[in-house]
Symmetry: C2
Subunit: 456 residues, 2 copies
Amino acid sequence: MHYAIDDTIVALSTPEGTGAIAVIRLSGKEAIAISNRVFKGKDLTRQPSHTLHYGSIRDGEKVLDEVVVSLFVAPHSFTGEDVVEISCHGSPFIVRQIIQLLLKHGARLATAGEFTKRAFMHGRFDLAQAEAVADLIASDSEISHKTALNQMRGGFSQEIKDLRAQLVHFASMIELELDFVEEDVEFASRDDLRRLVEDILRVVNALINSFALGNVIKNGVPTVIAGKPNAGKSTLLNALLNEEKAIVSDIPGTTRDFIEDEILLGGISFRFIDTAGLRETTDKVEAIGVERTYAKMKQASLIIFLFDLTEETITSIQKDINVLENLGIPFIRVGNKIDQAQPDLLKALESIPDIVYISAEKRENLEGLKDKIMALVDLNKFSTSGTIVTNVRHYDSLVKTKEALEDVLKGLDSGITQDFLAQDIRHALHYLGEITGEITTEDLLGNIFSKFCIGK
Amino acid sequence: MHYAIDDTIVALSTPEGTGAIAVIRLSGKEAIAISNRVFKGKDLTRQPSHTLHYGSIRDGEKVLDEVVVSLFVAPHSFTGEDVVEISCHGSPFIVRQIIQLLLKHGARLATAGEFTKRAFMHGRFDLAQAEAVADLIASDSEISHKTALNQMRGGFSQEIKDLRAQLVHFASMIELELDFVEEDVEFASRDDLRRLVEDILRVVNALINSFALGNVIKNGVPTVIAGKPNAGKSTLLNALLNEEKAIVSDIPGTTRDFIEDEILLGGISFRFIDTAGLRETTDKVEAIGVERTYAKMKQASLIIFLFDLTEETITSIQKDINVLENLGIPFIRVGNKIDQAQPDLLKALESIPDIVYISAEKRENLEGLKDKIMALVDLNKFSTSGTIVTNVRHYDSLVKTKEALEDVLKGLDSGITQDFLAQDIRHALHYLGEITGEITTEDLLGNIFSKFCIGK
């Protein structure tokens, strides 16, 4: 793959805001020459790759900052081009001044994801790996981090590429038959082809199925805590949040990005959806509110049904449980305020199986509840394949691959001609190729990289 | 100066949040060894200073990220110690994981400003220069940036050190006289001493006077737009803001730290203070609100008095001007909505001098207003010295130096004994030394560096 990339791009690569240092990155043919024009220190054009140089950035006589410059000479860089990273003081004002100066000297502002796009174009990694870079940066739990990193390191791509290579072999054999169509030869064994397509379909199906887990990994498990007002929903959420927060907050300043209503259990993120609470009502306006609550609950993958052991009756609890069972979403029955529970109610509840008794306020048996939650979202049941698809674009391509492969099988069954068979195989090859970027269009690339942040 | 610093510190040095890359910095005797324990790639302990190394960070078998490591071998680093900078993917989750791993392997979390404190302790720069690092990061205008950078590069410190060195010479001569007190010798010429002290006083006074400008540079000019409701105060502020914003916003993403009510004119930042507006009232509750407005106006260095040319009368305008004149703060009379002004009012206003006529909405004559603002805060009138003091701690030390030097002069006038004279000179030396850190205490250092951000 060859692209003519002539210009040199620049962007702030560290998060915006004030900090000790900020890093401005340049990539392109002129990256070193442009940097050298504004750098006072050693002659950067004469330094070896992978070296660091202290000096100052100057606009004519005016010193903008004292910096350390990192040199990466092509092809030994992230993008595969000459790359310069300028580590300056972390002031937005200084960053702006330096970038403006670099623009003046011939660099161009990078678009979103343009560094990674160049890395892809120069064959540093394939498209699925490039997309994993963005996922890696966005990862906020053990498992999303692991999945993205695994993907960035090429795990998933290799599987797709191997499958595709085998199919390419058959495709070329069948295309060859087309050249000899008059002679009715068969270079590609139809039985072997069927076996291969069935093998590929098995893998593709496993990858498609893994997407349910992949989606959970990337976006968290949407979870609703349902229950009457005063059942202790907020107390429970806070109790769950605080426990987890205590773990992450021993490093000052690293928890700012923590989303208040998201908690990590066993490396999986649970995203809590706020609801108005379950409530029996004859009031019409309130009934609409309750309808909305049910609508939200239907979006959940998990419902924690919380009832108050000091206030409710066995009848009202059983009624709510009936409603929840009709929703068809996994739910956990949780009796709250066990420390002050009505003894009669507790006795009556013995007829209902699988209740977890807790006190959210006293933090009693939160572990028991967590175990129950984890049991319901058992990761193993999501996927049979070791590889997990997290990207909706990959999922779409896999589904299209599957359809094309099923067409191939149908074609084999009905004994269609080589040209139709070849066409169906080409479709499958196309969709598989889209995942790793062996097949790309400018639109596709633009769409993918525009979702990146600038500077990556 | 020698300090035993045995441990190795670590912190995130780039701003928090999500970005393409984040930089984690280690400094100390074990910085390279600790990094090497978690880095898979080349053996970092055997690499030369100022080199870059690609590899991965691993917790046992688990890969945390792919990174580039920068090596700075002591004493050729920011802190003067071995320094390692790990450039990882800019995810808060990954940053947390890597820092936790480094802590596990023997690093300690850095306190605020601890890297800069170590640089100071290892004699990489003096205290005033260290403080300028924080100012530089906080700088948000041309002039605050220039002043901080100049200070960080030692401009101000050298002046103080030169003065102090000359005074030290006299101090030692006078201390020597104390050894020969029986013999009534005079090693230090009292006339020369008086001339030197007077010279130093002139410089110290100039520096003290420069603080008024220094404060403006660092904190902006507190400015109030006063006027009746509907005079167009918000429209004017927005008009001023938008013009300036257009200048800074051509680099996407670098303006997030822009404070909405702060604008830069001629490199100086003007900090706008919101007020309830001038209003004549007989209502008691409202009168309290107006009192508060006046209290706020008294904090301002500049008042823009805006009146509505379509609504007000010459009487009401004159009344407000009288109130403002009593405040004793520079103010600009600005007639707004010139495009729809009442002709009679315009004629009557000819009796009042120096009115700037604008239309905030139509953006008419904003330049005229800006020129007027700039004329009132003429930088040249603030300072006679080329060096500008921006730091309140330096200012305090200079004031104390001045007092001590005046005591020396008084002592010379009244012919006090050597020991009293020596004591006054020692006071002056002490306060001058505090500025550059030639005289320090742990309290002083703790106080200074605690104001830094972590990672610097």
